[in-house]
């Protein structure tokens, strides 16, 4: 089915309009398995909207989205996880009132291997399965360094830890494609460098492909081979980070600012 010459994710001429606003306009993207790909652009450029069309939160008005060669243009949000697409949110969205561990357990969406009766009576199989799920969840928390916070309420964690918990939760769905929406937002330089190391290790240890939206150019240039620069829903440039930095329209869009 999929091999190394089929892109993991392909978007062809995707458009999304909100009233008169073209949030994304004839957008193309090709991401190969195991890539770490960057999506850059000023606020309001349409980056988050792209994530929302991939995960079925918005339906694209035009164009086609393929995942492992399969058309997923019209998927429902709850189907994305099962296909192997996981994401984090620009504004962190945890189950704030639940414990850190519960947040990950919910994502360890293993199939029902016990019946309701077995659960109510705490029969051996229920205990075995829940123990396995818990161990798995703790494993993901360990990988982001939050195992000792497992029983804390998620909403009480400091910001940086919440971001990591969101990543752990996304990883718990066993994704092929991980979508990160501004993972370094609100982090200082030291923290974002730590995040770079963390994501490198995550990518190294797991068979995942990463598509990330990020403003911090130092983060993007350290992680991403390829990137796309977006402005007003349109692609300004595509290529390696060094290439796009030289691109005239990119420089113009940023008015010589951040880049």
């Amino acid at each position: 089915m999929s091999n190394n010459s089929t892109p993991l994710l392909e978007m062809k001429g995707v458009e999304k309009h909100f009233g008169g606003v073209r949030a994304i306009d004839r957008f193309d993207l090709r991401i190969m398995p195991r890539d770490i790909y960057g999506l850059i652009g000023p606020n309001g450029a349409g980056k988050t909207t792209i994530f929302n069309t991939i995960t079925g939160i918005y339906q694209a008005d035009e164009g086609q989205i393929l995942f492992e060669g399969k058309d997923i243009t019209k998927i429902k949000p709850h189907e994305a996880a099962a296909l192997g697409i996981a994401r984090t949110f620009q504004n962190i969205r945890l189950f704030e009132n639940l414990s850190v561990k519960m947040n990950v357990i919910i994502a360890c969406n293993m199939h029902n291997r016990y019946s309701v009766a077995e659960a109510i009576l705490r029969l051996p199989r229920y205990r075995k399965v829940t123990k396995a799920i818990e161990e798995r969840a703790i494993g993901f928390l360990e990988s982001v360094g939050l195992a000792d916070k497992a029983d804390d309420i998620a909403g009480s964690l400091p910001y940086g830890h919440q971001r990591k918990l969101e990543i752990a939760r996304a990883m718990a769905t066993d994704p092929k494609l991980l979508l990160l929406d501004e993972p370094a937002a609100g982090m200082n330089e030291e923290e974002s460098l730590e995040l770079v190391d963390f994501l490198k290790k995550l990518h190294h240890d797991n068979p995942i492909t990463i598509l990330m939206i990020e403003h911090h150019m130092d983060v993007v240039s350290r992680l991403c081979e390829q990137c796309t620069v977006l402005d007003f829903g349109r692609t300004l440039a595509q290529g390696t980070v060094e290439e796009v930095k030289q691109n005239e329209s990119v420089v113009a869009a940023y008015l010589g600012g951040e880049l």
Partner: protein
């Protein structure tokens, strides 16, 4: 002393009926953040379904009860599929859900009036003897039955919420619906199942209430008492709703017994206002200010 114990048992019994309604009410509130004003009418229709079933010759009463519970569950699911889901998914404000529920409530009440008339309908009783004499304490057999059945059902409900995968999904949707969806949870399915469960609980409550006080079109007003109970316990908290319901049942019978039965509802609703003023989050809810 004996009279007090007798009244306590009556209070716990009516409280257990409130608890059955209040827990479904709390479940729906926790998922959808709206007060399902039609919930009392689901309870009433469940009682009528059971009554209709008893009219069938040779129908055992226990089977009629199961049919009544099933009827209420279906009506509750119908409300969700026909009204609430559409309103939810077309991006209307939450207020619309409450207005739709009020509309359903009035519609069902009038419908019951048209179909069955306003006269009381009697449900059979499970036991031939209506009271037991335990060392001089007189206990109604229907009261005891209410307490035992409610206890079993509510414990089961709490176990389902706390132990099963479905329960975990309910908690996830209650916490953040759109995020739960991204985790692969079919939230419409979870919500539909919660309406079925809440409806079944309401149907059971309608039947037990009907056995004690007969069946009539406005009996759904008992839903208001369940609302008070869940405010006492903290809106959206199932254990809170149960505790609040038993508390309310006890307060009501003590007020009726020692002060005046005419003051019963006055005291209940005053309690509601008092709680809203001094502790709006209820006994089990998170303090509104702490949450912000």
């Amino acid at each position: 002393m004996k009279i007090l114990i007798q009244q306590m048992i009556t209070g716990i019994s009516i409280g257990s009926v409130y608890a059955l309604i209040a827990s479904g009410y709390a479940l729906v509130y926790s998922l959808l953040d709206f007060s399902n004003w039609a919930h009392g009418e689901v309870c009433m229709l469940g009682a009528y379904c059971c009554f209709m079933a008893t009219m069938i010759p040779k129908m055992p009463f226990a089977v009629s009860c199961v049919l009544g519970i099933a009827g209420a569950a279906l009506i509750s699911l119908f409300n969700e599929k026909i009204a609430y889901r559409r309103i939810r998914n077309n991006g209307s404000p939450n207020m619309f859900l409450m207005i739709a529920a009020m509309g359903l409530s009035t519609t069902y009440q009038n419908l019951a009036n048209v179909i069955w008339g306003s006269k009381f309908k009697q449900l059979p009783r499970f036991f031939k003897t209506s009271t037991l004499n335990i060392n001089g304490i007189f206990v109604g057999t229907t009261d005891l039955l209410c307490i035992v059945i409610s206890l079993i059902v509510l414990v089961l409900l709490l176990l389902i919420i706390n132990r099963t995968r479905f329960g975990l999904h309910v908690r996830a949707v209650a916490c953040a619906g759109s995020t739960a969806r991204i985790m692969g949870i079919r939230i419409d399915q979870v919500i539909a199942l919660v309406f079925v469960m809440a409806g079944a609980l309401a149907g059971l409550a309608g039947i037990t209430y009907g056995m004690k006080y007969n069946v009539y079109p406005t009996m759904g007003n008992v839903g208001l008492k369940a609302f008070i109970a869940s405010v006492i316990g903290g809106l959206g908290s199932v254990p809170g709703a149960i505790v609040g319901a038993v508390l309310l049942g006890l307060i009501e019978t003590v007020v009726s017994g020692y002060i005046s039965s005419g003051l019963r509802d006055l005291i209940s609703f005053s309690l509601l206002i008092l709680i809203l003023l001094i502790r709006p989050a209820g006994l089990f809810g998170v303090d509104v200010q702490e949450k912000a």
